[in-house]
Amino acid sequence: MSIRDVAIVGTSMTKFGRSNKTELEMFAEAALDSIYNSDIEPKNIEELYLGNCAGAINEGQVNMCAHAAEEIGLHQIPSTTFEGACASSAVAFIHAYREVAAGYNDTVLVAGTERNMTLRPTGWATRVFQCSADQRYTQFTGLTFPGIFAMAANRYMKKYDISKEAGEEALACVSVKNHHNGALNPKAHLQKEITIDTVLQSPKVADPLKLYDCCPFSDGAAALVLTSAEKAKKLTDTPIYVAGVGQSSQGSLCTQSDITYPIGRAVSSKKAYKQAKIEPKDIDIAEVHDCFTSAEIIAIEALGLFERGHGWKAEKEGETAVDGKLPINTSGGLKAKGHPIGATGCAQIHEIVEQLRGDAGKRQVNKVEVGLADNMGGEFGTITTIILRR
Protein backbone atom coordinates (compact mmCIF):
# COMPACT_ATOMS: atom_id res chain seq x y z
CA MET A 1 0.00 0.00 0.00
CA SER A 2 1.36 3.37 -0.85
CA ILE A 3 0.66 6.06 1.69
CA ARG A 4 1.59 9.71 1.63
CA ASP A 5 3.34 11.80 4.24
CA VAL A 6 1.15 13.55 6.80
CA ALA A 7 2.01 16.56 8.95
CA ILE A 8 0.65 18.37 11.98
CA VAL A 9 0.10 22.06 11.19
CA GLY A 10 -1.91 23.26 14.17
CA THR A 11 -1.96 22.29 17.82
CA SER A 12 -3.49 23.53 21.04
CA MET A 13 -4.50 22.51 24.52
CA THR A 14 -6.53 24.20 27.22
CA LYS A 15 -4.98 24.90 30.60
CA PHE A 16 -5.40 21.57 32.40
CA GLY A 17 -6.86 21.49 35.90
CA ARG A 18 -10.19 22.84 37.06
CA SER A 19 -12.54 24.14 34.39
CA ASN A 20 -16.01 25.62 34.58
CA LYS A 21 -16.72 24.54 31.02
CA THR A 22 -18.44 21.42 29.71
CA GLU A 23 -16.52 18.83 27.69
CA LEU A 24 -17.95 20.28 24.47
CA GLU A 25 -16.97 23.82 25.43
CA MET A 26 -13.42 22.80 26.36
CA PHE A 27 -13.22 20.94 23.06
CA ALA A 28 -14.33 24.07 21.18
CA GLU A 29 -11.69 26.22 22.89
CA ALA A 30 -8.81 23.88 21.96
CA ALA A 31 -10.20 23.04 18.51
CA LEU A 32 -10.66 26.61 17.30
CA ASP A 33 -7.26 27.63 18.65
CA SER A 34 -5.58 24.76 16.79
CA ILE A 35 -7.43 25.64 13.58
CA TYR A 36 -6.58 29.36 13.80
CA ASN A 37 -2.92 28.73 14.60
CA SER A 38 -2.63 26.42 11.59
CA ASP A 39 -3.59 29.29 9.27
CA ILE A 40 -6.56 27.52 7.71
CA GLU A 41 -10.26 28.30 7.75
CA PRO A 42 -12.63 26.10 9.75
CA LYS A 43 -14.46 25.32 6.50
CA ASN A 44 -11.34 23.49 5.26
CA ILE A 45 -11.74 20.80 7.93
CA GLU A 46 -13.12 17.71 6.22
CA GLU A 47 -13.61 15.37 9.17
CA LEU A 48 -13.48 15.34 12.97
CA TYR A 49 -11.99 12.52 15.08
CA LEU A 50 -12.85 13.03 18.75
CA GLY A 51 -11.45 11.18 21.75
CA ASN A 52 -13.71 11.01 24.80
CA CYS A 53 -14.01 8.27 27.35
CA ALA A 54 -16.65 8.81 29.99
CA GLY A 55 -18.79 11.71 28.79
CA ALA A 56 -21.76 9.36 28.73
CA ILE A 57 -21.29 8.49 32.41
CA ASN A 58 -20.06 11.84 33.70
CA GLU A 59 -22.09 14.37 31.73
CA GLY A 60 -24.83 12.16 30.31
CA GLN A 61 -23.66 13.05 26.80
CA VAL A 62 -23.66 10.20 24.31
CA ASN A 63 -22.66 10.83 20.66
CA MET A 64 -20.49 13.77 21.65
CA CYS A 65 -18.84 13.82 18.20
CA ALA A 66 -21.94 15.16 16.47
CA HIS A 67 -22.44 17.95 18.99
CA ALA A 68 -18.72 18.76 18.84
CA ALA A 69 -18.73 19.33 15.08
CA GLU A 70 -21.76 21.58 15.33
CA GLU A 71 -20.26 23.47 18.29
CA ILE A 72 -17.47 24.84 16.08
CA GLY A 73 -19.55 25.33 12.95
CA LEU A 74 -18.44 22.24 11.05
CA HIS A 75 -21.93 21.46 9.82
CA GLN A 76 -22.57 18.07 8.26
CA ILE A 77 -18.96 16.87 8.20
CA PRO A 78 -18.35 13.27 9.28
CA SER A 79 -17.53 13.22 12.99
CA THR A 80 -16.78 10.16 15.11
CA THR A 81 -16.07 9.56 18.78
CA PHE A 82 -13.20 7.22 19.62
CA GLU A 83 -13.15 5.53 23.01
CA GLY A 84 -10.08 3.71 24.27
CA ALA A 85 -10.18 4.68 27.95
CA CYS A 86 -7.15 6.88 28.73
CA ALA A 87 -5.86 6.37 25.17
CA SER A 88 -9.05 7.64 23.49
CA SER A 89 -7.62 10.61 21.62
CA ALA A 90 -4.38 8.85 20.61
CA VAL A 91 -6.58 6.20 18.97
CA ALA A 92 -8.54 9.01 17.29
CA PHE A 93 -5.22 10.48 16.08
CA ILE A 94 -4.08 7.19 14.56
CA HIS A 95 -7.34 6.82 12.62
CA ALA A 96 -7.21 10.42 11.44
CA TYR A 97 -3.60 9.96 10.35
CA ARG A 98 -4.42 6.81 8.39
CA GLU A 99 -7.23 8.45 6.44
CA VAL A 100 -5.10 11.42 5.46
CA ALA A 101 -2.18 9.12 4.63
CA ALA A 102 -4.47 6.98 2.48
CA GLY A 103 -5.80 10.03 0.66
CA TYR A 104 -9.43 9.80 1.81
CA ASN A 105 -9.08 13.23 3.40
CA ASP A 106 -6.64 16.12 3.11
CA THR A 107 -7.22 18.18 6.23
CA VAL A 108 -8.80 16.90 9.44
CA LEU A 109 -9.19 17.81 13.08
CA VAL A 110 -8.29 15.45 15.93
CA ALA A 111 -9.22 16.33 19.48
CA GLY A 112 -9.79 14.93 22.92
CA THR A 113 -11.82 16.29 25.80
CA GLU A 114 -12.68 15.11 29.30
CA ARG A 115 -13.96 16.49 32.59
CA ASN A 116 -12.52 14.40 35.42
CA MET A 117 -11.94 16.93 38.18
CA THR A 118 -15.04 19.00 38.70
CA LEU A 119 -17.71 16.33 38.65
CA ARG A 120 -17.92 13.91 41.55
CA PRO A 121 -15.93 12.75 44.58
CA THR A 122 -12.83 10.54 44.31
CA GLY A 123 -14.78 7.32 44.93
CA TRP A 124 -16.92 8.01 41.87
CA ALA A 125 -13.92 8.88 39.69
CA THR A 126 -12.07 5.77 40.88
CA ARG A 127 -15.12 3.70 39.97
CA VAL A 128 -15.38 5.29 36.50
CA PHE A 129 -11.69 4.56 35.82
CA GLN A 130 -12.20 1.00 37.07
CA CYS A 131 -14.89 0.51 34.41
CA SER A 132 -12.18 -0.06 31.80
CA ALA A 133 -10.93 -3.15 33.67
CA ASP A 134 -12.48 -6.56 32.90
CA GLN A 135 -16.10 -6.34 33.97
CA ARG A 136 -16.55 -10.11 34.36
CA TYR A 137 -13.59 -11.04 36.54
CA THR A 138 -11.76 -8.08 38.01
CA GLN A 139 -13.99 -5.08 38.73
CA PHE A 140 -15.97 -6.57 41.63
CA THR A 141 -12.79 -7.58 43.50
CA GLY A 142 -12.15 -3.94 44.42
CA LEU A 143 -9.16 -3.74 42.09
CA THR A 144 -8.41 -0.05 41.49
CA PHE A 145 -6.10 1.49 38.91
CA PRO A 146 -3.57 2.56 41.55
CA GLY A 147 -3.86 -1.06 42.73
CA ILE A 148 -2.83 -2.42 39.31
CA PHE A 149 0.24 -0.20 39.14
CA ALA A 150 1.05 -0.85 42.77
CA MET A 151 1.08 -4.59 42.02
CA ALA A 152 3.26 -3.92 38.98
CA ALA A 153 5.65 -1.93 41.21
CA ASN A 154 5.80 -4.69 43.81
CA ARG A 155 6.44 -7.34 41.17
CA TYR A 156 9.11 -5.15 39.56
CA MET A 157 10.94 -4.72 42.88
CA LYS A 158 10.82 -8.47 43.48
CA LYS A 159 11.96 -9.29 39.95
CA TYR A 160 15.00 -6.99 40.05
CA ASP A 161 15.72 -7.51 43.75
CA ILE A 162 15.16 -3.88 44.76
CA SER A 163 14.47 -3.11 48.42
CA LYS A 164 11.15 -1.46 49.26
CA GLU A 165 13.01 1.64 50.43
CA ALA A 166 15.12 1.98 47.26
CA GLY A 167 12.11 1.21 45.08
CA GLU A 168 9.90 3.82 46.71
CA GLU A 169 12.67 6.39 46.40
CA ALA A 170 13.01 5.68 42.66
CA LEU A 171 9.24 6.07 42.25
CA ALA A 172 9.43 9.38 44.13
CA CYS A 173 12.19 10.55 41.74
CA VAL A 174 9.74 10.15 38.82
CA SER A 175 7.23 12.38 40.59
CA VAL A 176 9.83 15.01 41.58
CA LYS A 177 11.12 15.18 37.99
CA ASN A 178 7.63 15.43 36.45
CA HIS A 179 6.58 18.10 38.95
CA HIS A 180 9.75 20.04 38.09
CA ASN A 181 8.80 19.92 34.40
CA GLY A 182 5.17 20.77 35.16
CA ALA A 183 6.31 23.86 37.05
CA LEU A 184 7.85 25.07 33.76
CA ASN A 185 4.65 24.40 31.77
CA PRO A 186 2.03 27.18 31.96
CA LYS A 187 -0.67 24.72 30.78
CA ALA A 188 0.03 22.16 33.52
CA HIS A 189 -2.51 21.31 36.19
CA LEU A 190 0.08 21.16 39.01
CA GLN A 191 2.77 23.81 38.63
CA LYS A 192 4.79 23.33 41.78
CA GLU A 193 8.13 21.80 42.67
CA ILE A 194 8.13 19.00 45.20
CA THR A 195 10.80 16.97 47.00
CA ILE A 196 11.29 13.25 47.54
CA ASP A 197 9.94 13.71 51.06
CA THR A 198 6.74 15.30 49.69
CA VAL A 199 6.08 12.00 47.92
CA LEU A 200 7.23 9.64 50.67
CA GLN A 201 5.21 11.46 53.33
CA SER A 202 2.00 11.75 51.32
CA PRO A 203 -1.00 9.54 52.22
CA LYS A 204 -1.03 5.92 51.08
CA VAL A 205 -3.21 5.13 48.06
CA ALA A 206 -2.28 1.56 47.15
CA ASP A 207 0.91 0.31 48.76
CA PRO A 208 3.65 1.18 47.68
CA LEU A 209 2.01 4.06 45.79
CA LYS A 210 1.20 7.25 47.67
CA LEU A 211 -0.83 10.27 46.70
CA TYR A 212 2.16 11.93 44.98
CA ASP A 213 2.80 8.77 42.94
CA CYS A 214 -0.61 9.26 41.29
CA CYS A 215 -1.68 11.66 38.55
CA PRO A 216 -4.52 14.05 39.39
CA PHE A 217 -8.03 13.94 37.94
CA SER A 218 -8.08 16.92 35.57
CA ASP A 219 -10.39 18.78 33.23
CA GLY A 220 -9.09 19.69 29.80
CA ALA A 221 -9.04 19.37 26.04
CA ALA A 222 -6.40 19.25 23.31
CA ALA A 223 -6.63 19.45 19.52
CA LEU A 224 -4.46 19.00 16.45
CA VAL A 225 -4.88 19.79 12.74
CA LEU A 226 -3.48 17.17 10.36
CA THR A 227 -2.97 17.62 6.65
CA SER A 228 -1.03 16.15 3.75
CA ALA A 229 2.69 17.00 3.68
CA GLU A 230 2.14 18.76 0.38
CA LYS A 231 -0.43 21.16 1.84
CA ALA A 232 1.49 21.51 5.09
CA LYS A 233 4.52 23.01 3.31
CA LYS A 234 2.32 25.83 2.00
CA LEU A 235 0.87 26.53 5.46
CA THR A 236 3.89 26.56 7.74
CA ASP A 237 7.69 26.65 7.87
CA THR A 238 7.65 24.08 10.65
CA PRO A 239 5.41 21.17 9.67
CA ILE A 240 5.84 18.26 12.06
CA TYR A 241 5.64 14.92 10.28
CA VAL A 242 4.06 11.70 11.50
CA ALA A 243 6.92 9.22 11.09
CA GLY A 244 5.26 6.08 12.43
CA VAL A 245 2.30 4.82 14.44
CA GLY A 246 1.49 1.62 16.31
CA GLN A 247 -1.45 0.35 18.33
CA SER A 248 -2.18 -2.85 20.22
CA SER A 249 -4.79 -4.34 22.52
CA GLN A 250 -4.76 -6.76 25.45
CA GLY A 251 -7.61 -8.39 27.38
CA SER A 252 -8.24 -8.90 31.07
CA LEU A 253 -5.38 -8.70 33.56
CA CYS A 254 -6.22 -12.39 34.16
CA THR A 255 -4.96 -13.20 30.65
CA GLN A 256 -1.76 -11.12 30.68
CA SER A 257 1.72 -12.38 31.46
CA ASP A 258 4.41 -10.04 32.79
CA ILE A 259 2.78 -6.83 34.03
CA THR A 260 6.20 -5.22 34.49
CA TYR A 261 6.73 -5.55 30.72
CA PRO A 262 3.37 -5.27 28.89
CA ILE A 263 3.86 -7.20 25.67
CA GLY A 264 1.23 -5.02 23.95
CA ARG A 265 3.47 -2.00 24.41
CA ALA A 266 6.43 -3.79 22.86
CA VAL A 267 4.24 -4.86 19.91
CA SER A 268 2.82 -1.38 19.37
CA SER A 269 6.16 0.41 19.57
CA LYS A 270 7.89 -2.07 17.26
CA LYS A 271 5.29 -1.29 14.58
CA ALA A 272 5.90 2.42 15.00
CA TYR A 273 9.71 2.10 14.97
CA LYS A 274 9.51 -0.06 11.85
CA GLN A 275 7.34 2.41 9.97
CA ALA A 276 9.56 5.30 11.03
CA LYS A 277 12.65 3.28 10.03
CA ILE A 278 14.33 4.07 13.33
CA GLU A 279 15.36 2.32 16.51
CA PRO A 280 14.63 3.28 20.12
CA LYS A 281 18.11 4.85 20.39
CA ASP A 282 17.09 7.43 17.76
CA ILE A 283 14.38 8.90 19.99
CA ASP A 284 15.33 12.33 21.41
CA ILE A 285 12.35 12.87 23.74
CA ALA A 286 9.27 10.92 24.82
CA GLU A 287 5.96 11.61 26.50
CA VAL A 288 4.93 8.37 28.20
CA HIS A 289 1.82 7.31 30.08
CA ASP A 290 2.79 8.04 33.70
CA CYS A 291 -0.66 7.71 35.27
CA PHE A 292 1.37 6.43 38.24
CA THR A 293 5.10 6.73 38.85
CA SER A 294 5.60 2.98 38.39
CA ALA A 295 3.81 3.22 35.02
CA GLU A 296 6.53 5.54 33.71
CA ILE A 297 9.32 3.10 34.58
CA ILE A 298 7.40 0.22 33.00
CA ALA A 299 6.72 2.30 29.88
CA ILE A 300 10.29 3.44 29.22
CA GLU A 301 11.51 -0.16 29.44
CA ALA A 302 8.79 -1.74 27.28
CA LEU A 303 9.34 0.96 24.64
CA GLY A 304 12.98 -0.13 24.49
CA LEU A 305 14.19 3.33 25.57
CA PHE A 306 15.93 1.92 28.65
CA GLU A 307 17.21 -1.56 29.34
CA ARG A 308 14.87 -3.91 31.23
CA GLY A 309 15.44 -3.63 34.97
CA HIS A 310 17.34 -0.35 34.57
CA GLY A 311 14.49 2.16 34.24
CA TRP A 312 14.33 2.78 37.98
CA LYS A 313 18.05 3.59 38.13
CA ALA A 314 17.81 5.90 35.11
CA GLU A 315 15.07 7.85 36.93
CA LYS A 316 17.18 8.06 40.08
CA GLU A 317 20.28 9.21 38.22
CA GLY A 318 18.56 12.01 36.29
CA GLU A 319 18.84 10.39 32.85
CA THR A 320 15.18 11.23 32.16
CA ALA A 321 15.38 14.92 33.17
CA VAL A 322 14.99 17.77 30.64
CA ASP A 323 18.82 18.01 30.52
CA GLY A 324 19.31 14.24 30.84
CA LYS A 325 20.32 11.58 28.33
CA LEU A 326 16.72 10.99 27.20
CA PRO A 327 14.17 13.50 28.53
CA ILE A 328 10.88 11.82 29.50
CA ASN A 329 7.65 13.76 30.06
CA THR A 330 9.02 17.26 29.58
CA SER A 331 5.42 18.52 29.77
CA GLY A 332 5.16 17.32 33.37
CA GLY A 333 3.50 14.13 32.18
CA LEU A 334 0.13 12.98 33.42
CA LYS A 335 1.55 13.40 36.92
CA ALA A 336 1.91 17.19 36.80
CA LYS A 337 0.44 18.37 33.49
CA GLY A 338 -2.71 16.49 34.50
CA HIS A 339 -4.85 13.70 33.07
CA PRO A 340 -8.22 14.55 31.54
CA ILE A 341 -8.34 11.04 30.21
CA GLY A 342 -9.86 11.51 26.74
CA ALA A 343 -7.62 14.54 26.10
CA THR A 344 -4.32 13.03 27.22
CA GLY A 345 -3.30 11.39 23.92
CA CYS A 346 -3.59 14.65 21.97
CA ALA A 347 -1.96 16.62 24.79
CA GLN A 348 1.10 14.33 24.69
CA ILE A 349 1.38 14.91 20.93
CA HIS A 350 0.96 18.66 21.54
CA GLU A 351 4.05 18.62 23.77
CA ILE A 352 6.14 16.68 21.24
CA VAL A 353 5.12 19.15 18.51
CA GLU A 354 6.09 22.14 20.70
CA GLN A 355 9.47 20.54 21.43
CA LEU A 356 10.13 19.70 17.77
CA ARG A 357 9.24 23.25 16.75
CA GLY A 358 11.43 24.71 19.50
CA ASP A 359 8.40 26.34 21.13
CA ALA A 360 8.63 24.63 24.53
CA GLY A 361 9.92 27.66 26.41
CA LYS A 362 11.72 26.99 29.67
CA ARG A 363 11.47 23.24 29.25
CA GLN A 364 12.87 23.20 25.70
CA VAL A 365 15.27 20.33 25.02
CA ASN A 366 18.31 20.98 22.78
CA LYS A 367 18.51 19.41 19.33
CA VAL A 368 15.24 17.51 19.13
CA GLU A 369 14.71 15.73 15.82
CA VAL A 370 12.47 12.78 16.74
CA GLY A 371 9.89 12.46 19.53
CA LEU A 372 7.63 9.66 20.72
CA ALA A 373 4.22 9.71 22.42
CA ASP A 374 3.13 6.61 24.35
CA ASN A 375 -0.49 6.44 25.51
CA MET A 376 -2.17 3.61 27.42
CA GLY A 377 -5.80 2.89 28.20
CA GLY A 378 -7.25 0.52 30.79
CA GLU A 379 -5.32 -2.34 32.38
CA PHE A 380 -2.71 -2.23 29.54
CA GLY A 381 -5.78 -2.77 27.32
CA THR A 382 -5.12 -0.20 24.58
CA ILE A 383 -1.60 0.96 23.85
CA THR A 384 -0.56 3.45 21.18
CA THR A 385 2.83 4.65 19.95
CA ILE A 386 3.12 7.77 17.80
CA ILE A 387 6.49 8.93 16.47
CA LEU A 388 6.91 12.46 15.12
CA ARG A 389 9.83 14.14 13.37
CA ARG A 390 10.78 17.58 12.11
Partner: protein
Protein backbone atom coordinates in the same frame (compact mmCIF):
# COMPACT_ATOMS: atom_id res chain seq x y z
CA UNK B 1 -34.26 -1.31 38.31
CA UNK B 2 -32.35 -3.11 41.00
CA UNK B 3 -29.50 -1.04 42.43
CA UNK B 4 -26.22 -2.56 41.31
CA UNK B 5 -23.79 -3.64 43.98
CA UNK B 6 -20.28 -3.05 42.64
CA UNK B 7 -18.82 -5.50 45.15
CA UNK B 8 -20.65 -8.33 43.42
CA UNK B 9 -19.99 -9.77 39.98
CA UNK B 10 -22.52 -9.66 37.19
CA UNK B 11 -23.27 -13.24 36.25
CA UNK B 12 -23.86 -14.29 32.65
CA UNK B 13 -24.60 -17.52 30.85
CA UNK B 14 -20.99 -18.51 30.11
CA UNK B 15 -19.86 -17.86 33.68
CA UNK B 16 -22.87 -19.09 35.67
CA UNK B 17 -21.50 -22.60 36.38
CA UNK B 18 -18.34 -21.08 37.84
CA UNK B 19 -20.37 -19.07 40.37
CA UNK B 20 -22.70 -21.99 41.11
CA UNK B 21 -19.61 -24.10 41.80
CA UNK B 22 -18.38 -21.64 44.39
CA UNK B 23 -21.68 -22.10 46.29
CA UNK B 24 -20.77 -25.78 46.61
CA UNK B 25 -17.17 -24.88 47.67
CA UNK B 26 -15.89 -26.10 44.31
CA UNK B 27 -13.45 -24.20 42.07
CA UNK B 28 -14.74 -25.13 38.61
CA UNK B 29 -13.18 -24.02 35.35
CA UNK B 30 -13.87 -24.82 31.71
CA UNK B 31 -12.29 -27.53 29.57
CA UNK B 32 -12.79 -27.28 25.82
CA UNK B 33 -14.73 -30.24 24.38
CA UNK B 34 -12.75 -29.99 21.17
CA UNK B 35 -9.08 -29.50 22.13
CA UNK B 36 -9.29 -30.29 25.88
CA UNK B 37 -7.60 -27.01 26.83
CA UNK B 38 -8.34 -26.08 30.43
CA UNK B 39 -8.46 -22.36 31.14
CA UNK B 40 -9.48 -19.57 33.48
CA UNK B 41 -11.37 -17.23 33.33
CA UNK B 42 -14.56 -18.84 31.96
CA UNK B 43 -15.68 -17.53 28.58
CA UNK B 44 -17.93 -18.36 25.66
CA UNK B 45 -15.18 -19.61 23.31
CA UNK B 46 -12.04 -21.65 23.90
CA UNK B 47 -9.02 -19.27 23.83
CA UNK B 48 -6.96 -21.93 22.01
CA UNK B 49 -9.28 -23.26 19.27
CA UNK B 50 -12.33 -20.97 19.58
CA UNK B 51 -14.74 -23.92 19.99
CA UNK B 52 -17.86 -23.06 21.97
CA UNK B 53 -18.76 -26.17 23.99
CA UNK B 54 -17.10 -26.81 27.33
CA UNK B 55 -16.99 -29.30 30.16
CA UNK B 56 -16.36 -28.14 33.70
CA UNK B 57 -13.52 -29.55 35.78
CA UNK B 58 -12.48 -28.89 39.35
CA UNK B 59 -9.10 -27.31 40.13
CA UNK B 60 -7.02 -27.82 43.27
CA UNK B 61 -7.58 -24.28 44.54
CA UNK B 62 -3.84 -23.86 44.99
CA UNK B 63 -1.63 -21.21 43.49
CA UNK B 64 1.10 -18.65 44.12
CA UNK B 65 0.98 -14.92 44.79
CA UNK B 66 2.16 -13.11 41.63
CA UNK B 67 1.76 -9.71 43.27
CA UNK B 68 -0.41 -7.82 45.74
CA UNK B 69 -1.24 -4.39 47.13
CA UNK B 70 -2.99 -2.99 50.16
CA UNK B 71 -5.63 -0.54 48.95
CA UNK B 72 -6.20 2.65 50.96
CA UNK B 73 -8.20 4.74 48.48
CA UNK B 74 -11.02 2.44 47.41
CA UNK B 75 -13.41 2.17 44.57
CA UNK B 76 -17.00 3.03 45.51
CA UNK B 77 -18.63 0.91 48.23
CA UNK B 78 -15.46 -0.73 49.53
CA UNK B 79 -14.24 -0.38 53.12
CA UNK B 80 -10.49 0.25 53.50
CA UNK B 81 -7.93 -0.98 53.87
CA UNK B 82 -8.28 -4.17 51.92
CA UNK B 83 -5.75 -6.30 50.06
CA UNK B 84 -6.00 -7.37 46.43
CA UNK B 85 -3.67 -9.72 44.60
CA UNK B 86 -2.98 -11.67 41.46
CA UNK B 87 -2.81 -15.44 41.82
CA UNK B 88 -1.05 -17.76 39.39
CA UNK B 89 -3.08 -20.99 39.44
CA UNK B 90 -1.09 -24.11 40.28
CA UNK B 91 -2.31 -25.99 37.21
CA UNK B 92 -0.84 -23.25 34.98
CA UNK B 93 -4.22 -22.58 33.36
CA UNK B 94 -4.48 -18.87 34.14
CA UNK B 95 -4.43 -16.14 36.66
CA UNK B 96 -7.01 -14.67 39.05
CA UNK B 97 -7.39 -11.16 40.39
CA UNK B 98 -8.77 -11.57 43.88
CA UNK B 99 -9.38 -10.15 47.27
CA UNK B 100 -6.69 -11.50 49.63
CA UNK B 101 -7.37 -12.49 53.24
CA UNK B 102 -4.12 -12.07 55.21
CA UNK B 103 -2.13 -9.78 57.40
CA UNK B 104 0.04 -7.76 55.01
CA UNK B 105 3.18 -8.54 57.01
CA UNK B 106 2.64 -12.23 56.18
CA UNK B 107 2.51 -11.71 52.42
CA UNK B 108 5.46 -12.47 50.14
CA UNK B 109 5.47 -12.51 46.35
CA UNK B 110 5.49 -16.07 44.92
CA UNK B 111 4.34 -17.62 48.26
CA UNK B 112 1.91 -20.58 48.10
CA UNK B 113 -1.75 -19.56 48.36
CA UNK B 114 -5.07 -21.37 48.63
CA UNK B 115 -8.62 -20.46 47.71
CA UNK B 116 -11.41 -19.99 50.22
CA UNK B 117 -15.06 -19.10 49.89
CA UNK B 118 -17.18 -16.31 51.34
CA UNK B 119 -20.96 -16.31 51.25
CA UNK B 120 -21.88 -12.80 50.14
CA UNK B 121 -25.63 -13.24 49.82
CA UNK B 122 -28.10 -16.09 50.02
CA UNK B 123 -27.43 -17.14 46.43
CA UNK B 124 -23.95 -15.73 45.86
CA UNK B 125 -20.59 -17.04 47.05
CA UNK B 126 -17.37 -15.20 46.26
CA UNK B 127 -13.79 -16.46 46.25
CA UNK B 128 -10.94 -15.11 48.31
CA UNK B 129 -7.31 -16.28 48.44
CA UNK B 130 -5.14 -16.67 51.54
CA UNK B 131 -1.65 -17.94 52.41
CA UNK B 132 -1.60 -21.76 52.14
CA UNK B 133 -0.04 -22.16 55.59
CA UNK B 134 -2.75 -20.27 57.48
Amino acid sequence: MEKRNFRHPQIFHSTEKFWLGLRDRKFLVQRCKNCEEIFFPPRSHCPKCLYNEMDWVELSGKGTLYSWSEIHIPSRNFDVPYVIGIIDLEEGVGRMVSKIRARVEDLRIDMPMKIDYEDAEEDLTLYVWMPAQS
